[in-house]
Each structure stands twice: as C-alpha cells, then as structure tokens.
Symmetry: C2
C-alpha cells in the first residue's frame, strides 16, 4: 500500500500566493500589458516604456513569464500571453484591470486586518453605518477605482447573462447598483429590442452616462438615481441585482428582495447573480473568501449559497426559481413574480 | 480544429490569491491548527477556543476547509487536514508556522510597496545600508519572528540535506547564518558522529542555545558569534550557506564565497542551498518572486540560477560542483576546495 508523503508544498504555496497577486497588480498599475499592445519589446524598451528602475526589471518581467501572463521569445523579447492580451490591455473593451486596481488599492491593504476583523466581527475599513457607498462615492478617485472595478466584474459575467436569459420574451431591463452600466450595455448590445438602464447613487451618474455614450447606447439606456436603502426601485420587465446582496446583512438583503418584488410588473423576473458558495460550504474558496471580504469591508454583509438565496427569494414571493452557472465562479438565480 | 476559449479564470485567481494567504496567516496567528491538536471541535468550541467573534467564524473555518487545510465531518466538527496537522500544529517539531508569521508581519505589509520598489530600485522596509540584520536583530520581537521564520524554512529543507550529502565522510559542520540552528540540529540528530555548530550575529546566541539545548545537542553544537561582512568565518569540514547569498549584491555574494573558501580545510566542502531560479528564467515563479522580495527587503540582494552560482563558486576556487534537488522549490550546489 502506498501512502502519499505529507509535503509542505500546498501550505508554502498558499503562504506565498500574495506575492503573485501583487506582481500582477503592479504590472497592471504600471501598464505592462498595455505597453505590449503593439508588439513585443525587449527588456530595456519595456523597462523604459513603463518607467521602472533597472534593478528589479528583469526579475519582474520574468516573474510575469513564470506566472503565465507574459511570454518571452528566443531573443528575449516580451509579449502578452493570450489571456493578458485579451483582459489586461487597457485599450480593449474586455479590459478587467479595473478590478485588479481595486484589489490593489483597497482589498490588499484592508485584508492586512483580517485577524482584527475576525476578533471583533467589525469592518476594518472605517465603514460608517448606513449606506457606506454614500461615503465611498463622495471621494471622486475612490468612486472611479470602484466603478471601474465593478465594470471589470460586470464584463466577466455580462456575456453569459446576455446569452442565458430569455431576453426575447421581455422589453425592458433595470440593473440595480449598476456602476458604469457595463451589464445593461452588454445586454442592449446583443439584444437590440431591449431598453432600460441602471439604478445607482446620484454621484455615479456621470460615470454611467459617459460609459453608455461611448458605447452608443444613450438612446436606449438611462440612469436612475436613488438610494435603495431609502427609495423605491424603478420598474422594468427584468430587474437585476448582481453582487449587491452580499454587501448587506440578512435584514437588508430581504428588504431589497421585497423592494424588487414590489417594483416588478406581474410576470416580471428578478435575476440575482453572485459568487455563490456551494450549498455544502465545502469547496468554494472564492465565495467563502469573498464573504470574509464582506466582513472586512462592511458592517453586516456576507456571501451565501443558492440554497440560502432560494429561501429568501421564495419568502419575498418569487416562484419558478432556476439557477444557471455563468462563469467558473458566478451563478445566477432567476425568479418570477 | 478546437481553439480553447480565452477565459479570465487564471488572472482572477492570481488577483485574489492574496486572500488565501491572509486566511492561512490569520489561522496560524490565531492558533486554529494548534487548537485542534487534541481532536475535532465544533464551530462554537473552536470559535471560543481561539477567541474570535461570531460574525465571521463560520466563513473563516469553512474557507480553511475549502483551502484544504481543515476538514469538516458530517456533524459539522472541524479537524486538521493531514498537512496542517503535520506542519501547522505549534506543539510539533515539524511546525513551520514561524515562516508564515514572518510573511504575515513583514512580507505582506512590505509587498504593499512593490510598485514603488520597482520604480526606485530601492528597498521599501527602511533597510539601512550595511548589515541590515544588525538593525533587525536589535529589536527582540522582530528577531524572534525572524529566527523562528528561518527555523521553519530550515525545517523544510533539513531532512533532505541530512539525507543527500555524504556526511559519513566528514566530522564537522558549520552553518553560516544559522538563526536557531535548526539545520545543524537535524544533521547532528541523524548523523551521530557529526559535531560543529552555527555562525550568526551575537544577538542570535540565546535563541540558538535554547533551541539546541531543547534538542539535547548542546554538547555537540555550539554558537559562533560574528558578522560575516567584517569577520572571518569559523572553519569546519563542511560549511553551509543556505538562503544567505540571495540577501546580498553580487560583490558581497562573491566576497562571502571567497571567505568560505578561505575558511575551509583542503578537501572541505561548501553547500549552498537556495530557492534556485531555473536557468532559463522561465518557470520558477517562487524563485523569481523571492528575488522581488529581495528587491523590497534589501539594498542589493537578488535570487539566482544554478548557472549563476556555478560561475561564482568556480571563480572562488571550488571544483567538482554538483547540484541536488532538495524540495519542490529548493536545491543545493556542493563544491569542493
């Protein structure tokens, strides 16, 4: 009988994983992948393009090769790997670097205080009670990083939502907590009969409107300003709440589901998409760690399973609930009024 | 012809990897694995044992399950997985949590400044020029975290060095930069004819002596105090420099190799072990990221390949160089005088 030896490799790899995250964040921050848009660059060209010192440059670029973000050819020139070219080139509409910037500027430093968050049960980012997004959005630079991060997140999931929901059966959509509106933009782009827009706090309006205008969709998508903790929600055939409910405690979660139910017309549909934890809470490390992120960042937020959400949605009155996998991490639950 | 679709999964996983590191660090800091030494604990017992608030406890423990550090049985009790039981239980001699504490207290916060380190080429931890270990060791708590971290690192590699070098052919060993002496302790434990000790800065002495005494080896292993930047090295049949050279610039690296050569008796051997970068600098992410760690932490340090080291060792006079793989990350190069 063979017994596999116990090695420390898994533990050591986990312990050092933060270095790989930071190498990626710095590469995005410094514009490495965007600098390689127009073709390969040798060490010295790339180094001067992005403005870093000689000392760490070669190790940095070779780290990105070893992390399978860059490739290096036989004469030592670096180029983007296929994933970096698609998702990390700032000039492309598929750019998701905004989410990485958000992790770099907010996630990584706040996670420093995980132990303290666990001991106290309290957020470690100075979150005020009430709608913390109001505070966050009062700082323009924070607002920008955050809405661009949300756009990156929405881009990851929008093609699947545009493809997997029966949009031919409805005319209007409202995305609740829409940020720049990347999700309704993708739906409207693919389904030319759909109109609607997004709902978010008033300071988000210019970010939404400029993004939507750039996509040539200002005629079909408009911004609705409001605070969903105090105001009623606008109505549409389909309402979407994506990565919204996890920010809030269970009382607010169910209040928001009730508000959505009340705003919908008869036979209207609510789509909730989220990084769902598996029902057994056994394998979904990203969902469970996202929930610890809510511990660090919010007063009462937490991530949840499809089973949890099903109970809350049924309680709000939704029926005919169905689950669809969207990406390797995210799923949507659709309910009908 | 099938073309694999480009997915963002790899990028997103890298970007979130820091959360997994921090969950592990907090678990070590809070003593989760040590609390489970004597058997499984349910959520409430484990939570109160380690002193954390209710809010994040279940997500935290379930994250550790999803990260394959803990296991949870059918009645909801948590227990250590085999790797955590072996390497993360503070009561065991195989404990490597010291290295994770070191990452948690020093590595993670300093890596916050990677972009700045790349831009300037300068360390971001306030490292003074000269022997920065002198500064570090003047703070007792930093000294303790650091030497325990080094012990964890030495434990990972010591069994392989004890097994893969022909110790039957020599009588004495000196470990240069020995910290608590975990490496000579393991060699002396396995090879009962070997005597010697470790060389490090004077403030390390009590940490070495108490560790060696606890292993019952005070009669065979003694501490040699000195600063290898200024003082000659003590002599022995075999000298070891492990994870030392990467801290220094190339001038200091070669100076240290020359000093080791001069200290050795004829036919003596030098073992250099390190997280070697692959010669093509193509696949060894841990080695390349370790070199970026040196950028952040030191004035001139960098990691290197076996090919680099071979040149330096030959230049110092060593011959008959041979390489041995020690662990999945570390290798040793042995040279003869």
């Amino acid at each position: 009988m063979n017994i596999a030896p116990v090695t420390p490799d898994h533990i050591v790899n986990l312990g050092k994983a933060f270095r790989a995250s930071k190498a990626l964040f710095s590469a995005v921050e410094l514009g490495v992948f965007t600098a390689l848009t127009h073709g390969p660059r040798d060490l010295e060209m790339l180094r001067t393009d992005i403005g870093i010192a000689e000392r760490g440059a070669r190790d940095f670029f070779d780290s990105l090769v070893a992390l399978k973000l860059l490739e290096r050819d036989e004469v030592g020139r670096y180029r983007n790997g296929p994933e970096a070219a698609h998702f990390l080139d700032r000039e492309k509409p598929t750019y998701i670097g905004g989410e990485l910037d958000n992790f770099n500027k907010h996630g990584y430093p706040h996670w420093q205080f995980l132990t303290q968050a666990l001991k106290t049960g309290k957020p470690q980012n100075g979150a005020a009670t009430g709608n913390r997004f109001l505070d966050r959005y009062s700082n323009q630079s924070v607002l920008e990083t955050f809405t661009e991060g949300m756009t990156a997140g929405a881009r990851l999931v929008a093609p699947a939502i545009a493809a997997k929901f029966p949009w031919d059966r409805c005319r209007t959509v409202i995305d609740i907590g829409t940020a720049q509106g990347a999700l309704p933009v993708e739906i409207a782009r693919v389904h030319e009969h759909v109109t609607g827009g997004g709902f978010d706090l008033a300071p988000v309006r210019p970010h939404f409107e400029s993004y939507v205008k750039k996509q040539g969709l200002s005629g079909r998508l408009r911004f609705h300003a409001g605070d969903f903790l105090r105001d009623p929600l606008p109505s549409a055939d389909v309402m979407i709440m994506g990565r919204v409910l996890h920010n809030w405690d269970v009382i607010t979660k169910t209040m928001l589901l009730n508000k959505a139910y009340n705003a919908l017309p008869p036979a209207g549909a609510l789509i909730v998409y989220e990084r769902m934890i598996d029902d057994a809470r056994q394998v979904s490390a990203p969902g469970l760690l996202s929930s610890l992120n809510m511990l660090i960042m919010t007063e009462g937020g937490f991530d949840y399973t499809v089973a949890d959400l099903t109970v809350w949605m049924q309680h709000a009155g939704f029926y005919d609930l169905r689950v669809e996998r969207l990406t390797s991490e995210l799923s949507m639950v659709v309910g009908t009024k």
